[in-house]
């Protein structure tokens, strides 16, 4: 470890206009959208490929090659494991992105302790219901921003397959089996969208009719809808089922039942983009996130 990292990072935070962010990816499309905010992202992982010019995936042994401004964790529960130690070592402020509701097993008392432990760290939520459920101090709401200029139907690309399932568990494969055997639909399961470019994801989305999100990544659903797919989500995110081509469901059975109803459904993409630009505006998202980064990087780090 370079021994002057703590002071050189600090000088970078105060003197440099660029923002260098140590980021722990969600492995979903949120990462790609975050990279569109034009900051420099550093992901320390031995097995991950970079998917964007402004994101460097490095082996953790090379941490001291750069100076950093902020360390971002991808959830409240993973903060300790992800960036607590590293942020102290390189002397940078921290931000936690929280995309999901608290786990049902997390007791009220534990949540209280966690809130106190993390009180000095800014938490960014992307939905009021989720933010209110956590009810943490030092929290900020920032709606997801979907870049409709990146996710759109590509003329002449044919929808050669029926369903794309986003799932990290065995459930995705079971559902795929079901659709293939019982409904004779062509179906694929995707686990990780972190290593391909945003343009490639849009191209892939354009080849499917329906997107099913089992990974609790609502933003993936919004992007799929923006790319012209009919999207089915198990998420509890507010306003999402107001998007013309998104259905919000509660159970796996609901998913199975809704697929025949939405298959071959015509999608009015103008209406979808209009709604997304109004409620999940990317420019607004970019401006909120960048002003947050700018402020947090210059603040004194208080443990």
């Amino acid at each position: 470890m370079r021994l002057n990292t703590i002071t050189s990072s600090l000088l970078h935070q105060l003197l440099n206009d660029e923002t260098n962010i140590v980021y722990y990816p969600t492995l979903g499309i949120f990462d790609q959208i975050l990279y569109l905010t034009n900051n420099n992202f550093f992901v320390f992982s031995d097995n991950l490929k970079s998917c964007s010019d402004n994101c460097r995936c490095l082996n953790s042994e090379f941490v001291d090659l750069y100076d950093y401004d902020i360390c971002c964790a991808s959830s409240i529960m993973s903060y300790r494991q992800q960036c607590s130690q590293l942020s102290d070592k390189i002397n940078v402020n921290r931000i936690i992105f929280e995309h999901n509701l608290p786990d049902a097993e997390l007791k009220k008392e534990d949540r209280f302790i966690l809130n106190n432990d993390l009180i000095k760290i800014k938490k960014i939520f992307f939905d009021t219901t989720i933010m209110e459920s956590w009810n943490f101090d030092n929290s900020v709401l920032c709606n997801y921003g979907i870049p409709t200029h990146k996710f759109f139907p590509i003329p002449d690309v044919k929808k050669v397959k029926n369903i794309l399932i986003s799932s990290g568990s065995v459930l995705g494969n079971q559902l795929k089996q079901h659709f293939e055997d019982k409904m004779e639909l062509k179906c694929d399961v995707v686990k990780n969208m972190a290593e391909v470019s945003i343009d490639t994801i849009n191209k892939v989305f354009n080849t499917y009719e329906i997107f099913i999100d089992l990974s609790n990544r609502t933003i993936d659903c919004l992007c799929a809808a923006s790319a012209g797919m009919y999207s089915i989500s198990l998420s509890s995110l507010k306003n999402i089922d107001n998007v013309p081509n998104i259905s919000q469901v509660n159970t796996i059975e609901d998913i199975v039942n809704i697929v025949p109803l939405v298959k071959d459904k015509n999608i009015n993409i103008e209406e979808t983009h209009k709604y997304i630009d109004e409620h999940f505006n990317f420019n607004k998202f970019e401006s909120i996130i960048n002003s947050m980064f700018k402020n947090v990087k210059r603040e004194a780090k208080v443990l």
Partner: protein, 367 residues
């Protein structure tokens, strides 16, 4: 002029307190001063003074001067800044084998708190401009509380109290202090020894008992009074005031804030010669213990990451325990039989207080 102060001032230890004092001193001379903390250890204070908070809340687009009060290994040179000033403190001598010399040579100026440390840096190859400026202390707080005494049951008696305030680390040489005290005085002498340290008092007490056993001296000798509670700044002044003579037979000190505090409160310090303390303590206002150079061979390390200081290429000074005994006996005899000389020494110390004030030190740093 916009200034930036970088230091571990939120740490709850000697580094942190010294850094806070430097911040306050510079702030007396520089209105546009912003401050940002760094942390070497995870031991930090929960609240800071308004001055510190005020500086932390300031942020400027550009800075003319950056002060880095840190280990030389951590200093960073930024060429976009008009002046990069490093403020550092080292307890050992000879850094010629240390990479930190390169860092210091990149800075525009290095401030150290003692002539001895300036010599060390020059001999180690530091070629940049070196300024010797004492560590600042909150002299106003000392003046306001000059009569305050701490209320510890163990300290309410009529004995002449030798005392020390020191971390429990090898460099501070507390075992020699305890041994010297036991050899210098018997139970018939109306004296006691107070040790304010960070170690657990029971553990320390049993280690001192073992020392006593190894010494093979009389079993009926008095036990030391160990205070391991955390004390506020004001209570620390109270502790000084409840005692009579500060003793620190340390192997090496860059400055030693408790010794300076003891001096300005008239506690006639007895300290090791050839250390940073001799810039303000001498045989007129205190007592210097003869010492001889020896290599730094110790388990103590500044930080686990910093491998190239605290090694045997460096040296520090081992105090002569017999001279320590002699000095302890001398001050006690002076206290009993020659009050005039005793008071004269005290007064010399008390009168030197303003040299450490925030304003004076701030002026010197920003000059």
């Amino acid at each position: 002029m916009n200034g930036l102060f970088i230091a571990p001032y939120r740490q709850n230890d000697g580094w942190g307190f010294a850094a806070t004092d430097y911040l306050k001193a510079i702030n007396t001379q520089m209105q546009n001063l912003s401050a940002r903390p760094i942390y070497y250890v995870n031991n930090h204070v929960s609240t800071v003074s308004d001055t510190v908070l005020n500086c932390e809340n300031k942020s400027f687009k550009e800075y003319d001067i950056v002060f880095q009060k840190c280990l030389p290994h951590s200093m960073t040179i930024d060429k976009s800044i008009k002046k990069n000033v490093g403020i550092t403190m080292l307890e050992t001598n000879n850094l010629s084998k240390s990479m930190s010399v390169l860092n210091m040579n990149g800075m525009d100026e290095i401030c150290v708190p003692s002539t001895q440390e300036a010599k060390t840096l020059k001999h180690s190859g530091v070629t940049t401009n070196i300024k010797v400026i004492s560590q600042p202390i909150d002299t106003e707080l000392f003046k306001k509380n000059s009569n305050r005494k701490i209320v510890f049951n163990t300290l309410i008696d009529s004995t002449f109290k030798f005392y020390t305030i020191a971390e429990f680390v090898e460099r501070k040489n507390l075992f020699d202090l305890v041994a010297a005290f036991r050899l210098a005085f018997s139970n018939l002498d109306n004296v006691s020894l107070v040790i304010k340290t960070n170690a657990n008092s029971n553990q320390l007490s049993s280690q001192f008992d073992k020392l006593k056993q190894n010494m093979g001296t009389h079993k009926y000798q008095k036990k030391e009074i160990i205070i391991s509670e955390r004390l506020s700044d004001v209570d620390m002044i109270g502790l000084h005031n409840a005692c009579d003579c500060f003793v620190l037979p340390s192997y090496g000190e860059s400055f030693c804030r408790p010794a300076a505090e003891a001096l300005v409160l008239g506690k006639t310090p007895i300290v090791t010669d050839n250390t940073g303390m001799t810039d303000f303590i001498n045989n007129d206002n205190g007592f210097l213990i003869r010492s001889r150079k020896c290599p730094v061979i110790t388990e103590q390390k500044t930080l686990s990451d910093v491998f190239d200081i605290y090694n045997a290429y460096e040296h520090w000074y081992r105090p002569d325990i017999y001279h320590l005994i002699e000095n302890m006996q001398k001050i006690y005899t002076m206290y009993k039989k020659d009050k005039q000389s005793y008071i004269r020494k005290q007064e010399l110390g008390i009168n030197s207080i303003d040299q450490f004030s925030y304003e004076n030190i701030g002026k010197k740093i920003c000059d």
